[in-house]
Amino acid sequence: MYNFKKTFQPINGDKMEQQNYETIVNKHKPKENRLLNALLAFLTGGLIGAFGNFLQEAYSYFLDISKNDAAVLMLTTLIFLACLFTALGFFDSFAKVGKMGLIIPITGFAHSMQSAILDYKKEGLIYGFGANIFRLAGSVILYGVVAAYIFGIIRYAIMGG
């Protein structure tokens, strides 16, 4: 009869063993190039900001509308472009180069929703599309709204509205 436990060594849950192993793991962990990543994100994020500002100015100048109205149009354009590039399949390649610079602005928000529904469109309109569109973006919306309320109350308390 084969004895499954013959050579079994009870190392599970041993704190010393875990710490010892952790040092080996950390020793072989490659260094992420954080400075370069941050610099790339700063540059791409800045470029998006500059592009957005340019769009806003252009809309306001050519369409003869107020800066506020132009801002709405600018945001819509950026969202549209992010969704389009996601659907065409090359936004993720941009994000690999540009790092978080493309994910943090509103382009990343649109991208997260668009990529989620691309994955789940085969599951149908209710269980796929509807249930999963906010898979990644849902937390952002929830805590964004909650944070807005809290800061609104603080502002009201301090500045009286």
Binding site: N12, Q18, I24, K29, A95, S112, Q114, K122, L136
Partner: protein
């Protein structure tokens, strides 16, 4: 556990496009150029498995009624790709799951049934699909969040192998069933570190059980530790078990891709088919041509789900070992 009288009849390996471009691409039976074989990622994986099964049946000139057992496994929830691929074949079917160590679990189950004369032959079938796995375990496919350097890339493909009690050139001689290991690793982006303890334990137990040394093997192959996991395993084995792995050790995940050219795979391949692709093509051919005499396959699997991971539980791992020898 010793195994007598179990031989490998033939194998089929179908890889995805990136795997085909890798250094071992020329050994694969076939490859696909498009990830979308069917309407969805999941159905594409089913189709991949069906292709591997049918190709193998053609190769060995058998029909489904000649096969006594089909053992399949994959990564999808409730191993559905395997069940749908087995649908309508009417071969007695066992679905198994050990994540990326599935292929050797199948070999162990099938060969022990053949060894004890319960059945005459069996087919083991495994697959994974990069996009289907991304959708299930990570972020949506098109979502482009940057990955750390230790992350691995689920391989696409399907591999099948037929075991029989008739004598052929390659034989299964022994195997060791792994134990679940937990060294409190929680980073799903560093699977090499999660799974190395399981590989270390299984290699140690296998060598001890059979009174062997690591140098007795022409090749020891782990499944998908990746380039960093490989170094962790070597150091841990040496420190904890005093076993030194030399040039005869490699890792299928680190071998499968051309890591310099295909940057998106970061630390290497993973998935149940990752080790199976290399083992059933390059290793099997090598054993058949007597390039290798004795090979130890130790694929490793991470036993976890996103739910347990979000609940802050550590990621468990397992490794099953199978020893293949060329028949003289």
């Amino acid at each position: 556990m010793k195994i007598n009288n179990v031989y490998i009849k033939d194998t089929v390996t179908i890889s995805g496009p990136l795997e085909y471009q890798g250094p071992y691409g020329k050994y694969f039976t076939d490859h696909i150029n498009d990830y979308y074989l069917d309407k969805s990622y999941e159905l594409s994986e089913v189709k991949l498995q069906k292709m591997a099964l049918n190709k193998l049946l053609n190769k060995v000139e058998k029909t489904t009624s000649d096969i006594d057992l089909l053992v399949s496994g994959d990564l999808l929830n409730q191993i559905t790709a395997s069940s749908y691929a087995a649908n309508k074949t009417l071969i007695p079917f066992l679905g198994v799951y050990s994540a990326c160590a599935t292929s050797t679990e199948q070999l162990i189950i099938a060969s022990s049934l053949i060894d004890s004369n319960k059945i005459k032959n069996a087919i083991c079938l495994t697959s994974s699909h990069n996009l289907a796995a991304e959708k299930q375990f990570r972020n949506p496919v098109e979502y482009g969040s940057p990955k750390p350097k230790t992350a691995t890339f689920t391989a696409t493909g399907s591999a099948s192998i037929m075991l029989t009690n008739e004598k052929t050139k390659v034989k299964i001689t022994s195997c060791t069933i792994g134990t679940v290991q937990d060294l409190n690793q929680k980073d799903p982006n560093n699977m090499g570190a999660v799974m190395a303890p399981a590989a270390a334990d299984t290699i140690y137990r296998h060598l001890k059980e059979n009174n062997e040394k690591a140098s007795d093997y022409d090749l020891i192959l782990t499944g998908d530790l990746g380039i960093y996991g490989k170094d962790i395993l070597k150091e841990y084995l040496k420190q904890r078990y005093s076993i030194e792995l030399k040039d005869n050790y490699d890792d299928c995940g680190a071998m499968l891709y051309d890591l310099k050219k295909t940057k998106e795979v970061t630390a290497g391949g993973s998935g149940p088919v990752c080790s199976a692709l290399i083992n059933y093509s390059y290793v099997y051919e090598g054993l058949k041509n007597k390039k290798f005499k004795k090979v130890l396959l130790v694929p490793t699997g991470a036993l976890f789900s996103p739910t347990f991971s979000y609940q802050k539980q550590s990621i468990l791992s397992i490794a099953h070992a199978v020893c293949l020898e060329s028949e003289s």
